[in-house]
Structures are given as C-alpha cells and as structure tokens.
Amino acid sequence: MSARPLHFSDNARRDIAFAVLTAVLFLAVTLAFPGFAAPRNLAGLLDDTAILIMLALGQMLVIMGRGIDLSIAANLALCGMLAALFSRAWPDAGVLPVLVLTLGAGGLLGACNGLLVWKLRLPPIVVTLGTMSIYRGAIYLLSKGAWVNENEMSREFLAFPRHEFLGLTVLSWLSIVVAAAFIVALQRLKVARDLYAAGGNPEAASYSGIDPGRMQFLAYTICGAIAGVCGYFWVAKFAVAYTDIALGFELSVIAACLIGGVAIAGGAGTAAGVVLGCLFIGIIRSSLPLVGISAFWQMFINGLVILVAVLLSARQRQFKRTILEARA
C-alpha cells in the first residue's frame, strides 16, 4: 500500500501483458478464420460488447472504492422498462427525454445504494443485494408483469442506438467515448485520485481530508446513471422490455472487471484494463460458434478465465505481504 508509484507501474505492466494476450487471441482466431477480422464482423463485435464496456467501467468505480454493485443489472432493467413505458406513452417525444430520464432515474437508484453505504456504513454486498430485489420487484409493479414489445416503441426510440456513423453504430461510438473519458479522467481528475486513495487505504485517505464514504456515494451514483442509460440501449437493441431482462448480467459485469484487473479489495484498476477485459470476453463469445463450440460453453470459459485472472493477481500480491497480515 505504501509503494504507490510502484503500484501503478504494476498496473501498466499488467495492462500491457493482457493487451498482448488479447491480441494473440484475436490473431489466433483470425488466422483460423480470416473472416473474423472483417470490418463488418468487428463492428458487430463492438456493438455487442458496448453495453458491457460501459457497465463494467461504472462497476469499476464502485469496486475501486471498496464496494460492489450487485443491483446494476436490476437498475438497468428498471430504467429500460421506464424508457419503454415512456416511449409507449409519448411516442413523439424523441430520444433526448429518454436519455435524460434514464440517466436521472439510474443515477437516483445508484445514489440510494451510495447513501446507504455512505451514511449508514452498511455493507455494500447486503445493500445492493437488497436493492437488486427491490428494483426487480419494482419493474413488475410498474409494468404489471406485461411485456412492452417492439411495435409499442417509437421508431426513433429503436433506431437511435443502431444508427450508423463511419461504419460503427451510435452505441459503439458511445462506448468508445465513455471509455476514452474514463481513461483520461481517472488519470487527470483530482476526484479520481481521491477515489483511488479512498479505496486503497480509507483511513489514510480520511486523514488527508478525503471522505471515503462520499467517494463511494459518487461511484455508486455514476455507476447507477450508466446502468440507467444502458437500460434504454438494452431495450432498444433487443426491442423488448420485460421484468427479467439482463437477469444475472451483474455477474458478467463483475467478471469483466475482475478479468480486467480491478482488485476486489479496492484501490486498484485501470479503465484500459477493464475495456480489454470486456473485449476479451467479446472475442471469445463471438469466436465460439466459428470454432464449432456450442454457445453453452461461454459461461464455463468465463469462469475459467476469472479464476486464472484472480489466482494470478493473488499470487502477485502475496510477495508484498507479511505472513500473518490480515487478508483483505
């Protein structure tokens, strides 16, 4: 913990190693199936991974501050339903109100998590486990259990994220913009440095004038807002909204963070690593059918990758620990 500068070079080294690994995986698939590297296919891959990238970046902030957001997928589903119902009620309202609505509602739901963790110092896993159930239940109450189907959503609502610009969809571009913003902000902004410090050593951080709880609150709120707007994208992409959309997706998001090198104990992680983690999952997912492995293997492979990633990072940490130090 004390060797801060060393810590970052470790992160950079890990990111580079992981980038090489992802590139090797990509090259291997391309060598076997030249069609894989076709621009069309890659654009599709990015479009399929875009929501995961944005969610994982939000989740990264929360985990960096020593929290976890299990309610992220339920938040997404609730805001997605809100967006769908809004589109059904006001089909001519356009996309902007939907974006504002989902960002606001998602941010609010995230802020609820953050407030409980900050003001009452409740354990994040219990809080978000609870809000996960509550948000899911709220979708049912809101929709009365019914589906909102494609024909009930306005054309503009459905078309916006799929609209193509320079060969990539708006959704893909958004994920690129968000990723770039995260990479820059995490390195340049003071508040981001504060978040790293608060997660790395909350006590030391509070002595230097940072409120770790407030940092967590911010992280949860941003994560919630991202989840909310992704709810709209999810509903528009799959053209349907119902109670169970994205059920269990929170674990894929957390998996992407872990693969991307975010330390569950807080204080460490890079945006580039998380994006690479998402791309790694995306490449595996889209190459499975090419290799002739059933899509049912995806989850198993994800599990293996997570375990290898966390075992490796645990091994690295071990050298810096004394024998009887408490585990994080």
């Binding site: 009452l120 409740l122 896993i125 509550i134 049912y140 674990l251 998996a255 569950i264 198993f300 966390v310």
Partner: protein, 311 residues
C-alpha cells in the same frame, strides 16, 4: 452484551413469524390446515439446509456465492449417472460427492490460492453453472429411478416430510456444534479476528477449508432433495437461489462482517421466509412482489442497528 442483542433479534423474528401466521390464517381459509402447512415446508427446506453451513461460513468471515451453481452441477452429475443406469444409492453418493468436491475447490482457492472468497466463488459460480450448461445445453435429464423420488417427495411420519425431518435434524446438529463445542467457539473467533485467532493457535485456514467443503457437501444434499422432488434436471435448476439463501442467513441475524450469529436465528428466518412466500402465493401475490419485501427487510435488518448505534 452481544448475546442480549442477538436474543432481541431472535425474539423479533419469532414475533414476525407469529404475526405472519395470524395474518395468513385470517386472510386465507386454506392456510391453517396440517396438509397446507406440510406443503408449505417444501418451499424452504432445501434452501434452509444450505443456509445452515453457509451461516457458519459467514460467521467465520467468508462467503460462498457458488452454492446454487453447485446444486446445478451436482444435479447434472446425478442426471448423467442415472442415464447410465446408476441406482438410487449411487446417485445420492454422486450428488453428495460432487458437492463436496466443488466445496473443496472453493476451499483450496481461498486457503491455498489466497483469493478473497467473494471473488473465488463468483469465479466458481460461473464455472460450475457454466459446466452444467456446457454439458447439458438445452437438454433435460429426467430418467431417474422411481425409488429416487423418495427423498424429495416422501414422508417420514404423517405430514412430516423427509426433507423437513432432515432440516430439523441438521438444525439441531449445527446448533449444538456452533454454540456448544470448542470448534464452534473457534469459528466465531476466526470471524471476529482472524489474525488474533491465528496467533492464539487456531488453524484458521483449516477451519476455512473445512467450512467451504461442508457448504459444498450440503449443497450436494440440497441437489439430491431438489432433483428428487422435481424428478428432472435442467442446467438452470436452482437459478438465483444463492441470493435467497444468503438473504435467509443475513435475515437470521448473522453479521456479514463475521463473528456474530446464531443457528436459531437462521432457522427462524428460514421459517419466516418460507411461510411468507407460501402465504403470499395462497393470496395470488406473485413471488416477484415478495422480492421487494425481502429486499427491504434485508436492508432494514442491517440499517436498524446502524441507525441505533449512531445515536
């Protein structure tokens, strides 16, 4: 000091249980009959059987999110074995063995691999559930021998099902083990302060490993009961149960920070959980609405003491 506040917590659970009982029996004429109540127990016994060892694990300061995935994996293993003509005794052995093995993998990751338990079990949860999907895909296994149905569908005496009898038996065993033996005291110590426990000669990692193995074994047992009751295996079997089981444990007053909790609390929480789900079902209220109550209750359980302590 802590015993007194825990006692308060358990009497509160008991009060909730009685209130739920009175409410449901006045709202539904079908509720208060032996047959109905006997049916209601099937709602929670399998989950509650896993909640017992999980409570010990959480008291020891660890967590296992992979329990439901272990149930799925064990169920698939039994289904495949049954298709090969393995008999009932063999199937039970395979179910329990798969659970135990999966639990040992978790234990090894946490103790030897030094991976934090939440991360390790998120990984194995994906791995185990993934293995169930990889092996089974969209197929269903349902060629179980007739005698296999006894465990999940049979009755010991009168309206007391084998599942309920097993749960009561294990609840007593776990209660005695946790609250009346040296090992139980050590579990509390490990959860309250692992470093101090290590210094005072408790083999902390042995306890951790054993508790993960135990949780795996009981997930295997739950897989036997659930598979026997349903008579079929899909890879999505017991989906989402990990959260319900963890909720049960936390609702029972076990502290997620480790070092605090009681088996009595977990048993009462399991009863509240099972009775409420069943009662609302009788009143045609869908389970998803109940999840709002569960979620609120879960947060209240940890928020109320935090609010009180702030004053």
């Amino acid at each position: 000091m802590k015993a007194a506040s825990l006692l308060r917590w358990e009497s509160m659970l008991a009060a909730v249980l009685i209130a739920a009982f009175i409410t449901f029996s006045s709202l539904s004429p079908y509720f208060l009959s032996v047959d109905t109540l006997s049916d209601a127990t099937f709602n929670f016994t399998e989950r509650a059987i896993v909640a017992l060892p999980l409570a010990l694990l959480i008291i020891a300061g660890e967590i296992d999110i992979s329990v439901a995935a272990i149930i799925a994996l064990a169920s698939v293993a039994m289904g495949l074995a049954s298709a090969q003509g393995v008999g009932t005794a063999g199937l039970v052995g395979i179910g329990l063995g798969t659970g135990l093995l999966a639990g040992c993998i978790n234990g090894a990751l946490v103790t030897i691999g030094r991976v934090p338990s939440i991360v390790a079990t998120i990984g194995t949860m994906t791995l185990f559930r993934g293995a169930a999907y990889a092996v089974l895909g969209d197929r269903v296994l349902k060629d179980y021998p007739d005698s296999f149905a006894t465990f999940g569908q049979g009755y010991l005496v009168g309206p007391i099902s084998i599942e309920l009898a097993l749960f009561v038996l294990f609840a007593i065993l776990f209660g005695v083990f946790l609250h009346r033996t040296r090992w139980g005291r050590s579990i509390f110590a490990v959860g309250a302060n692992p470093v101090a426990s290590r210094f005072s000669g408790i083999a902390v990692n042995h306890y951790r490993f054993a508790l993960f193995a135990l949780t795996g074994l009981f997930s295997g047992l739950a897989a036997v009961l659930l598979t026997s009751r349903l008579g079929s295996t899909r890879p999505s079997i017991a989906q989402g149960w990990e959260l319900e089981i963890i909720s049960m444990v936390i609702l029972g007053g076990v502290s997620v920070w480790g070092g605090k909790g009681s088996i009595l609390g977990v048993v009462l929480a399991a009863l509240v959980f099972g009775l409420t789900t069943f009662g609302l079902g009788l009143m045609n209220i869908p389970g998803i609405v109940l999840s709002i109550f569960t979620g609120l209750l879960l947060i209240l359980v940890v928020a109320v003491p935090a609010l009180v302590n702030r004053r």
